[in-house]
Amino acid sequence: MTDRSEIYDQVTAQITPFNKKGIDLSEATTFAGDLEWDSLTVMDFVAAIEDEFDIIISMNMQAEIETVGQLVDAVAKLRG
């Protein structure tokens, strides 16, 4: 298993408790559109991801992350 697919699995595991509608997840799933998360849910989720990977995803970075795939890429980059 590559690093990226490991990160993908970890990210989707973190999404699960917030995925109230049980939406099927893929790289292309969007947080605002598909998962219908409001800003409070996004903040709680970002905090969970930050703690899982021991990284900071600033609000500035969050603005450019719309899909699960983009988040996985961002996490991979931030972990260096």
Binding site: A47, I56, S58, M59, N60
Partner: protein, 402 residues
């Protein structure tokens, strides 16, 4: 053509649905006449004011009013200019001196509103490559200050020391760090554990800014705020405050001991590119601040009011924002917006005004009836208020019993 207003359609619909129920618009109240810091005429009837932030009741203080009248006569109605050009009068320097004396700090800078003070200071001191670590329940003016600047913005869970520390430790080596906290969070009326949080911020090399808008004049032995009360004011790099609460007029400020602080007057755009406060406003603020230094009796009475109201509402069966009274704000949690608006209207019919607060201003999507007490509320008025809440609560079914 795309209508730029279509983005507001959900809110327009929500508002229309609420008003369709026949409820009075909670965001359209007009005070026809103001009798005192605690009483106004609304819709032709005498109404007790319990949602004004006029904590120390300075708005009708005779000395404060006289100072304003004198300044109007002597200096005119307005400055028509920026502080750095033609907008600094003797009164602006006098009110900044009053602030320095009030806080025992070296520097004070007065802005035209509290909103602009946060906007200006935060966006100017935290620049590109710096990190702002802030409480997620921060006031809109703090968030807007972050948005106006170029720093990386990192929020943490409300009042969560560990969440704050983790984020501070993850910031890259060498980056500038600013931690932003509030003394009193105005939605639930809870205070921050500033002593612990500031110690962690300092241990991680951050500068600290504390917004004491809702504590000035009231909390702390000298009314300097929550940081003073917890014995850590000397650890705070920047205190942000406002004239539109305890001081009783309008305006904002920052006080600091930073040796280079005065350069802010040249680089802070929300300070430079706007007109300064009118002479009457700075004169009333100056007089009020100096009187607040010696207001220990009023502070004690306000604490009594806060404790009495908190106890009375809790015993009546209301769900409150804090388990103990921590400030002059007592927040009553409503089940939803519609029933909150119904309760707000029932209180207005009783002759009581409180603030209806709804998302996104509130945390966790809550609808709140926010009560802010005044040192000028008599003990009798507080009992009357508890009676009004109880009747309105039963009528609207927020609390049990009929």
């Amino acid at each position: 053509m795309t209508d730029l207003f279509s983005k507001f359609d959900p809110l327009i619909e929500m508002r229309a649905n609420l008003l369709q129920t026949g409820v009075t618009d909670p965001f359209g109240l007009v005070m026809e006449r103001v009798v005192s810091p605690t009483v106004a005429i609304c819709n032709g009837r005498e109404t007790i004011l319990l949602g004004t932030y006029n904590y120390m009741g300075m708005t009708f203080d005779p000395d404060v009013i006289q100072a304003g009248k004198d300044a109007l006569d002597q200096f005119g109605s307005g400055t028509t200019g920026s502080r750095v050009l033609n907008g600094t009068y003797a009164g602006h320097k006098a009110v900044e001196q009053a602030l320095k004396d009030f806080y025992g700090m070296d520097h004070a800078m007065v802005f035209s509103t509290g909103y602009q003070a946060n906007l200006g200071i935060i966006s100017t001191i935290a620049g590109k490559g710096d990190y702002i670590v802030l409480d997620i329940d921060s006031h809109a003016s703090i968030w807007d200050g972050c948005k106006l600047g170029d720093a990386e913005v990192v929020p943490f869970k409300h009042n969560d020391l560990e969440a704050m520390e983790k984020r501070l430790k993850r910031i890259p080596e060498g980056a500038g760090k600013l931690v932003i906290l509030e003394g009193v969070y105005s939605m639930l009326g809870d205070i921050a554990p500033l002593k612990e949080m500031i110690a962690v911020a300092k241990a991680n090399g951050a500068m600290v800014l504390v917004d004491e808008a809702h504590s000035m004049g009231f909390i702390g032995p000298n009314g300097r705020g929550v940081a003073e009360d917890q014995g850590v004011l000397d650890q705070v790099d920047f205190v942000i405050g406002t004239f539109s609460k305890s001081v009783g007029t309008v305006g904002g400020f920052c006080v600091s001991n930073h040796p280079k602080f005065e350069i802010m007057r040249l680089v802070c755009r929300p300070y430079v590119f706007t007109a300064s406060l009118p002479p009457s406003v700075v004169a009333t603020a100056c007089t009020s601040i100096r009187k607040l230094m010696h207001a220990a009796d009023k502070r004690a009475h306000l604490w009594e009011n806060s404790k009495t109201l908190h106890k009375g509402l809790r015993e009546a069966g209301f769900q409150l924002g804090t388990s103990e009274p921590q400030s002059a704000i007592i927040s009553v949690i409503m089940p939803d917006l519609e029933r909150g608006a119904g309760m707000w209207e029932a209180l207005l019919h009783e002759g009581l005004y409180v603030n209806l607060a709804r998302p996104p201003a509130t945390p966790a999507g809550m609808t709140l009836l926010r009560c802010s007490l005044c040192a000028e509320h008599s003990a009798e008025q507080v009992q009357t208020i508890i009676g009004m809440f109880t009747r309105a609560g039963k009528k609207t079914g927020i609390i049990g019993g009929a």
